[in-house]
């Protein structure tokens, strides 16, 4: 390569390239700020401010609080159904008709359809041991205190469910009612018989 050619080829490049300073166009700055602002608005609207309990479609903790459903009669029945099927239904049957030789029926039972619920609540809290007559049939029962380990509101829900299902129509029971009866019974109450239950107030 001759000296001439080399000079010709590289006339415009003089040594190492260098970065030069030039100001960014104003529209890029404006666009960036506008995008940041819109992002901020979107974040404020949808993020719940990092609250771990706020998920889409809910937007704020306040909205979530306002949307919480009240615990109504339907919810208590649904809750009682769940407890019934896991605790009581194994012996008394999902249909409340009982099982011959195992557990008496709850549907239409005079022990369930009482005006008050004192006697009924004694059955799961103390257990039944001995003779009891249900719907005209004599049973010899050995039922453990199945409800003693349940929380008050669970036991109340399941008794409410029993009193309001399979054609039964008796009033609801609250957790406070159960708490009172549990306190009266004390720890590890002795199981009752049908006659002992009858001696109790309804």
């Amino acid at each position: 390569m001759s000296e001439d050619q080399q000079k010709n080829c590289c006339e415009h490049s003089s040594g190492e390239p260098t970065a030069t300073r030039s100001s960014a166009p104003i529209w890029i700055i404006v666009l960036t700020l506008a995008l940041l602002f819109l992002g901020g608005v979107y974040f404020d609207h949808n993020s719940g401010w990092f609250n771990p309990r706020v998920y889409a479609p809910y937007q704020t903790a306040e909205q979530l609080d306002a949307y919480q459903p009240k615990s109504g009669a339907a919810a208590a029945l649904a809750r009682g159904k769940g407890v019934y099927e896991s605790v009581c239904g194994i012996c008394h049957g999902a249909d409340g008709l009982g099982k011959p030789g195992m557990a008496p029926p709850l549907a239409g039972s005079e022990w369930v359809l009482t005006k008050g619920f004192n006697r009924l609540a004694h059955i799961p809290l103390a257990g039944v041991n001995g003779a009891i007559t249900v719907e005209g049939k004599d049973w010899t029962m050995a039922m453990a205190a199945m409800g003693a380990a349940l929380p008050d509101d669970d036991l109340a829900a399941v008794l409410t469910y029993i009193r309001g299902s399979w054609g039964n129509k008796a009033g609801p029971i609250t957790g406070d009612d159960i708490k009172k009866i549990r306190a009266e019974l004390g720890k590890n109450p002795a199981p009752v018989t049908g006659d002992q239950l009858k001696a109790l107030p309804e």
Binding site: V54, A66, Y67, A73, A78, K81, P151, Y161
Partner: protein, 264 residues
């Protein structure tokens, strides 16, 4: 390179920002997730999966179930419904009033207004919240999935592709162990036109012998084993079925509320 330090700083900021957004923030937000309680009750949620089901998660993982099945229910919104629970002293007025009002598919404000109107006339109401969305309309769940649903799962198997249906609530939809096992052994036996491959290698086809196995599958006609043989699930199949039965993310929670209105 005179601007080397600038490039390094810019790269560190870019990587650091995405790390902060994708790793640090979620970890701070949900890293300390604890047991929560079911709405309006004292029940803990979620419950530990029983032993068989906990091992079944690893069978689910080993067989690549998450490649075709998700475990995440999406929710688009929620609607309110006002239900009349008591007509009060003047049932005729209340029932006439109720007939004129729109009581389903309401917003929170409209539901409160309707309940107040009926309350003013002496009627008693309950307001029910229902979650809405395409997944919920398909019957895949009653609410959106939340972090608590996966608390005890390691690794979490949320999946991303839906060649098959979502399984977040398969234990609610098909709460029958025999159905689950038959479906794993011969999917077309219980779901016509299913595209799921058969997981027959999780089962043993063996001669019945002197005493039929109590665990032998009850297969529908056309899918039964040859005469004199029975289909018995292996331990892996039983674990997988137990895991599928334990997939029940339907409890109402504070973060995913809805009203349970199951009729007894």
């Amino acid at each position: 390179m005179k601007t080397g330090i600038g490039v390094f700083i810019a790269a560190a900021v870019a990587l650091g920002a995405s790390w902060a957004g994708l790793v640090l923030a979620p970890s701070l937000q949900l890293g300390n997730a604890k047991l929560t309680t079911v709405l309006n009750s004292t029940d803990a949620y979620p419950l530990q999966r029983p032993g068989m089901a906990a091992v079944g998660l690893q069978v689910y993982r080993a067989n690549g179930c998450a490649a075709c099945h998700t475990q995440q229910v999406q929710q688009d919104g929620s609607t309110f419904e006002v239900a009349l629970t008591g007509a009060g002293k003047d049932p005729v007025t209340v029932s006439n009033l109720v007939a004129t009002l729109k009581l389903t598919g309401l917003t929170k404000e409209a539901a409160d207004a309707a309940a107040a109107t009926i309350g003013a006339a002496g009627g008693k109401t309950e307001t029910h919240l229902t979650a809405t969305g395409a997944d919920i309309a398909r019957g895949w769940g009653t609410r959106h999935s939340v972090a608590a649903d996966y608390l005890y799962d390691a690794p979490v198997q949320p999946g991303s592709l839906r060649a098959g249906p979502d399984l977040a609530n398969i234990g609610v939809r098909a709460a029958d162990a025999n159905w689950q096992l038959v479906h794993l052994y011969a999917p077309r036996a219980v779901v016509k036109d299913s595209t799921m491959p058969s997981f027959a290698y999780l089962f043993e086809v063996r001669p019945v012998g002197a005493m039929p196995s109590a665990e032998a599958l009850k297969l529908p006609a056309g899918f039964t084993a040859p005469a004199g043989f029975e289909v018995v699930p292996t331990m892996a199949a039983k674990q997988l079925a137990a895991y599928l039965l334990s997939l029940r993310s339907d409890a109402p929670l504070y973060e995913a509320p809805y009203s349970q209105t199951a009729k007894p």
